[in-house]
């Protein structure tokens, strides 16, 4: 079980504001890691940096896809990073609302398929085969996520909880080895959050995908994470198992203020 993501000394500025400062984080293969912290701590900015949406001001990001060589991904474009096996979801759902549920997944298959313009017009054998495979695989993913019943619905017509699930399914379609979930439980009710627990565990156990999630729902974080990293004002303030984090005075102070520290 090697390290698949290594981030060291990562910093990010917005004008004069330092959003992330000297941040380190490692993910080992097969683990579920969580990144928590008060609002505005820089968690989503961190995601945006490692997925190529922002180009970090300083630091190194290395990934080691299973069975491949370690490579530096600083400043690469988001599509290249997704192609090399790191997929993500967004805090405020970003589906393709006017495409069907199935098509959303099919778009996810884009970076694992190849047919070009000429193939699309002429519809040669290989294109037809690839298209069939894309449809088949996409449908299989939908089934796994319990969304196959609404395959032909427009994504915007799905209930909120299912939209969240579809976004995860779409990220899975890119065949990642590491999945980054940005507040997957936001806006979900208690029952849906419990289902999400199981889903995330299943992704790790059955699909062998490692997971890094940002989350505010502490019950969820504490129950499924192997390791938790706490961030505040762009810095790492604590790291450890759920039990260690629960009792860490620095963390309690960051969340609740000085007077709650026993």
């Amino acid at each position: 079980m090697g390290t698949i993501l290594e981030v060291s000394g990562l910093s990010m500025d917005f004008g004069g504001l330092r959003a992330i400062e000297q941040f380190d984080l490692n993910i080992t293969e097969g683990e579920i890691a969580a990144l928590i912290g008060p609002n505005g701590a820089g968690k989503t900015t961190f995601f945006n940096c490692i997925t190529g949406i922002y180009s970090p001001a300083a630091g190194d990001i290395f990934i080691t896809p299973p069975g491949e060589k370690r490579k530096r991904i600083n400043g690469l474009k988001p599509n290249i990073i997704t192609r090399s096996g790191m997929a993500r979801t967004f805090q405020n759902i970003r589906l393709f609302p006017n495409m069907t549920v199935l098509e959303n997944i099919m778009v996810g298959r884009h970076c694992r398929t190849h047919s070009g313009i000429l193939g699309a017009v002429l519809r040669g054998l290989s294109t037809v085969r690839e298209e069939k495979e894309t449809i088949g695989e996409s449908y299989a993913i939908l089934k796994k996520f319990g969304l196959s019943g609404s395959a032909n619905e427009l994504a915007r017509n799905l209930p909120y909880g299912e939209q969240r699930r579809l976004e995860i399914a779409r990220a899975i379609a890119t065949k990642p080895f590491l999945l980054l979930l940005d507040e997957p439980a936001a806006g979900l009710n208690v029952r849906e959050t419990l289902e999400l627990d199981k889903l995330i565990a299943r992704l790790r156990d059955e699909e062998r995908i490692s997971i890094l999630l940002i989350e505010h729902d502490m019950r969820l974080v504490m129950s499924i994470s192997d390791r938790i990293t706490v961030m505040d004002y762009g810095k790492k303030i604590a790291e450890g198992t759920p039990d260690e984090i629960k009792n860490d005075p620095v963390v309690i102070k960051a969340y609740l203020g000085e007077e709650f520290v026993a």
């Binding site: 589906l95 495409m99 996810g108």
Partner: protein, 403 residues
């Protein structure tokens, strides 16, 4: 009680209209008798008319609001349901193709020419539809590629004597090249900014053509561009327009075929994803740069080809044919027809080209009517005549899965 408030609103509207039209409709200066005529009756008509119209207007708006809430079935246009009915489809297509084939033999050369123009705009509309409708990149300078195609043919013919069929693919290629050239600087732009830059690009091409006399013969344009030859034979004027019509029909069919296949492919889905959400699209591993350039290039290809045909059809071109108004017209076809829908663009082209043509009888009012129809369309059907329907897929086990 709502009724009373409505009355009041309509009454205010009619008062406002009476005030607005007062100088034009009521006062008339009679220069012979040096007197002012007060035509109060007109005011009464305006008042009553605008009162009724404003009532109707609000009634229609209310109906539209009510329609939005109700079920899905209403969202499927009747037309679409008729087309997707497999029983009706074959006979309908057969009837249309027989009519299209017989058209030049039934109607006068004037009608055939108008129809050729409609077909030309269908091709332009479908091309722009790739850029605006599918990829969601608002391009206001589309006419530039049309000009590139037209001048390619005119100049190559003038200097090198190349024929229509030789230049047609070349014009398409030139369109694509210019599409990519325009694409590069605007890759980072979106929405309004993109629209402004493309608008500027369109104007630059036109101004270059207008002022670079040595190259393009300036505003006087290029005349005597030969029509396409029919296996070396020279056709009569009537024959030539019929021939042009058939060429155009063939090319439109080709366009529909290609665009339809593109729409429903890996690259087509990438375009739509790009339109829907650029960041999510990139996060799915789609190369934004490549996808955008492909859309610009493929859109411009059709414009380049249409330009060659336009030059051959009119036998004379000058920069005045490639103004912004033309871009706006093509864009209106796409928007009015329904963005992203092939059937929609075809309908849009028919309406927007035929309407001004057949409204010539009302010469003074035709542009006014045209404008009114556009406004009404945008208020009551902003998604266009025919909205884009996503493809659905059948799976063997959907039945058991459904709740």
């Amino acid at each position: 009680m709502i009724k009373l408030a409505e009355m009041k609103k309509s009454f205010l509207v009619s008062l406002w209209f009476m005030f607005l039209t007062f100088p034009v409709m009521v006062i008339r200066v009679n220069p012979i008798e040096k007197a002012v005529e007060w035509r109060w009756v007109n005011m009464l008509f305006i008042g009553a008319g605008s009162f009724v119209l404003s009532f109707l207007w609000r009634y229609l708006l209310r109906r539209k609001e009510a329609g939005r809430g109700s079920g899905k079935i209403r969202n499927v246009p009747i037309f679409w349901r008729a087309v997707s009915e497999p029983k009706l489809r074959v006979p309908a297509l057969a009837a249309v193709s027989v009519f299209a084939a017989a058209f030049p033999f039934i109607f006068s050369a004037y009608q055939v020419n108008i129809m050729t123009t409609v077909l030309l705009y269908i091709m332009l509309g479908l091309g722009l539809n790739i850029v605006v409708g599918l990829a969601g990149l608002l391009d206001l300078g589309y006419v530039a590629f049309y000009a590139v195609g037209a001048y390619s043919y005119a100049l190559l013919n003038h200097h090198l004597g190349l024929g229509f069929w030789t230049v047609l693919p070349f014009g398409a290629l030139m369109g694509a090249v210019f599409g990519i050239l325009l694409g590069f600087p605007v890759l980072r732009l979106r929405g309004d900014y993109l629209a402004i830059v493309t608008l500027g690009f369109g104007e630059i091409i036109r101004l270059v053509l207008e002022n670079w006399n040595e190259f393009s013969f300036g505003p006087s344009g290029i005349a005597n561009i030969p029509r396409p030859s029919f296996f070396g034979m020279q056709l009569s004027l009537q024959g030539a327009s019929a021939y042009m019509y058939f060429i155009m029909t063939g090319l439109v069919l080709l366009t529909v075929f290609v665009v339809n296949r593109l729409q429903d492919s890996r690259i087509g889905r990438a375009w739509i994803a790009l339109r829907e959400d650029e960041i999510a699209c990139q996060a799915m591993g789609i190369d934004k740069t490549k996808t955008k350039l492909a859309a610009f290039a493929l859109g411009a290809t059709w414009a380049g080809m249409a330009g060659v045909i336009f030059a051959a059809k009119t036998t004379f071109i000058n920069p005045a044919s490639f103004t912004f108004l033309e871009s706006a017209m093509i864009l209106s076809i796409v928007v009015l027809g329904g963005m992203g829908s092939i059937t929609g663009v075809i309908c849009g082209a028919f309406i927007l080209i035929l309407l001004p043509e057949y409204l010539r009888a009302f010469s003074d009012f035709r542009m006014l009517l045209f404008g009114a129809i556009m406004v009404l369309m945008m208020v009551f059907r902003p998604q266009g005549l025919i909205s884009d329907m996503r493809r659905t897929y059948e799976f063997e086990d959907t039945a058991e899965k459904g709740l």
